[in-house]
Amino acid sequence: MIRIPGIVWVMLLFSAPLWSDEVTLFADREDLDPVLVRSGYEWLTPESKALQDDEFENPGWLWVERGRQLFASDSGEPSCASCHQTSDLIFSSSATRFPRWSDSQQTLINLEGQINQCRELRMARESFALESSEMLSLTAFVSQLARGQPVNVALTEEVKPFWQAGRDYFFRRKGQMNLACSQCHDERAGQRLRGDLISQGHPNGFPLYRYEWQSLGSLHRRLQDCDAGIRAEPQPLGSEIYLSVELYLAWRAGGLTLESPAIRR
């Protein structure tokens, strides 16, 4: 039986804050320095990079083509093209500005939310289910119009609470593995997790073709996979928390160019 001197107990007691979450690396941690921001593209193999750049072989373009058809006409008037011209510079770069505040809905919405808002309020059509083939095709088409343009979300007063909620989620430990997003994607980006390279977790490629899904998918689907990966409860697609995380991630990626439809693992 080892006898531990009282002084050691006192030292342990006073050092307790050093092990707790609040006072560790995260408390005064700066958000990702814009100078250090790097797209997930940089961590792809040369073959995957070539695939992303190939406008025929990149399977994501199957969804873009379908989106182009849906945009022009969707079995009856009116269509998206009735109001929106893809040659219009403001419209063609709109994907870089989501998520943003919606005056009509008085909340934060992303591109999917805007599409459904248009359908319900202006086209008198039913909304598309999130992650449905039609929704993915339309978001792929609209996002691809802005390919090469920098992510550019506006942090207005109304959206700041959402930004804060997204930031809190990013830095909060969760799940059975008790991991925060920042631990991998801020602190260990570029390092290996088993055979895989950790990226900074930017949203600039979405919607993207993911090998793991063998399909195109949205950022919210990826966030669900992230949460499931650390054995935390995945949140619903389109939920307010994921919208908040989407806003925070878009802000954090500021300056990165949109790569939709990207290729990722």
């Binding site: 073959e47 090998y211 996979d225 990966g229 693992r265």
Partner: protein, 151 residues
């Protein structure tokens, strides 16, 4: 004369050693057999020369769901001398045969590219049959890594 205890120990150890040796060898042998069977079911027992066929696969792939593959067979592709068929096989996949391609002289070139799935690191074989019955083959080992987060 060895005591009964030592003899039993020796027998147990030998039996254990033999059974341990048998296990992986049997598994390895049956994988090879399956691959061989799959190839022979298409090409027959003809000897496959390691010539003329170029099989290009990335040495390391980050995801087994999409592995780019390129096959080139050296052939003039005339009506007298052309590649009749190309088979693509993988030894670890649940079904060894991935694709069977039939060409004609009108193909012009025995050159095919596609994307396949590989269930882990393994040998991949591309075999080509000429119109005169000769068979050629190329065999490559591809390393396939997995995603880190298992969900």
């Amino acid at each position: 004369m060895k005591s009964p205890l030592k003899r039993r120990q020796l027998l147990k150890q030998s039996a254990a050693a033999v059974s341990v040796l048998c296990l992986p060898v049997k598994t390895w042998a049956s994988r090879q057999d399956r691959l061989q069977e799959a190839i022979e079911s298409r090409f027959g027992p003809a000897i496959r020369a390691q010539d003329r066929v170029a099989l290009k696969i990335p040495a390391l792939t980050e995801n087994g769901y999409s592995v780019p593959v390129e096959i080139r067979v050296d052939s003039p592709m005339t009506s007298d001398d052309y590649v009749q068929a190309i088979g693509l096989f993988a030894e670890e996949n649940p079904i060894s045969e991935i694709a069977w391609m039939e060409l004609t002289p009108e193909s012009g070139r025995a050159h095919v590219k596609t994307r396949i799935r590989l269930a882990g690191s393994q040998h991949v074989v591309a075999a080509a049959k000429m119109n005169d019955g000769r068979v050629f083959e190329a065999r490559v080992f591809a390393i396939v890594t997995l995603a880190a987060c298992v969900i």
